[in-house]
Symmetry: C2
Subunit: 104 residues, 2 copies
DNA sequence: AAAAAACATAAGAATCGACTTATCTATTCA
DNA sequence: TGAATAGATAAGTCGATTCTTATGTTTTTT
């Protein structure tokens, strides 16, 4: 729930890939595992880290778990980032472009 | 320079503290070490990680190095974040507001 | 010129993180 | 009911990180 746990969670490429996948909608653990060359427990452990960081939430559905991105999960990171806004001016052009995209 | 290196660099609390300190202005390595219960080489190694991630830059000044936050160092993180903008609407609004302020 | 100061690099120890296999629970299906 | 499926947890291995001490380089001070 704090930025420390979140940055640690995001430091791993597998977990970032899982988030990427979840950004396309809910997935269960088996679906999250697809294409990943690792065991089921490894996936389960990654999921635990993401949940511990508050980045995902889950819902039990029969014998499977449906995972989804937690809406406010990234908030501490955004807050943290804005502390460095004083250093962004040189990148404004690029950020403006992003902003325009976000507005669509 | 990519988000992988940046998230790894940010995963360490000592390095985040150093960035925090640098957000108050330029510091040399000795100043960055103040208050940290670790050896000089440990500090030097953390600095190397931050530089490797593109988060800080340096300037030699006599026998000391002046470090400062690199203006667009955090840009890949912002880019990465905006890919998930659909999942944390309210925080993105704040970010957008900030960017608009900078735009003026 | 010698000593001190600021920092980097090397090598090794200790700790942490990401995996593995084995096993457990809960649910569904035959 | 018994077998299969979905997932979590436990314990151990291994490589990556984060420290340490030792030492090297460059610049400043005396």
């Amino acid at each position: 729930m704090n930025e420390a746990d979140i940055f640690k969670a995001l430091a791993d490429p597998t977990r970032r890939q899982m988030l990427e996948r979840l950004s396309g909608g809910e997935r269960n653990a088996t679906e999250l595992r697809e294409g990943l060359a690792m065991s089921q427990p490894a996936v389960s452990q990654h999921i635990a880290v993401l949940r511990g960081a508050g980045l995902i939430e889950e819902e039990k559905s029969g014998r499977q778990m449906r995972y989804r991105i937690r809406a406010d999960g990234m908030a501490p990171v955004v807050d943290w980032l804005t502390r460095y806004r004083g250093f962004w001016p040189e990148r404004v052009e690029r950020l403006k472009t992003l902003l325009r995209e976000m507005d669509q």
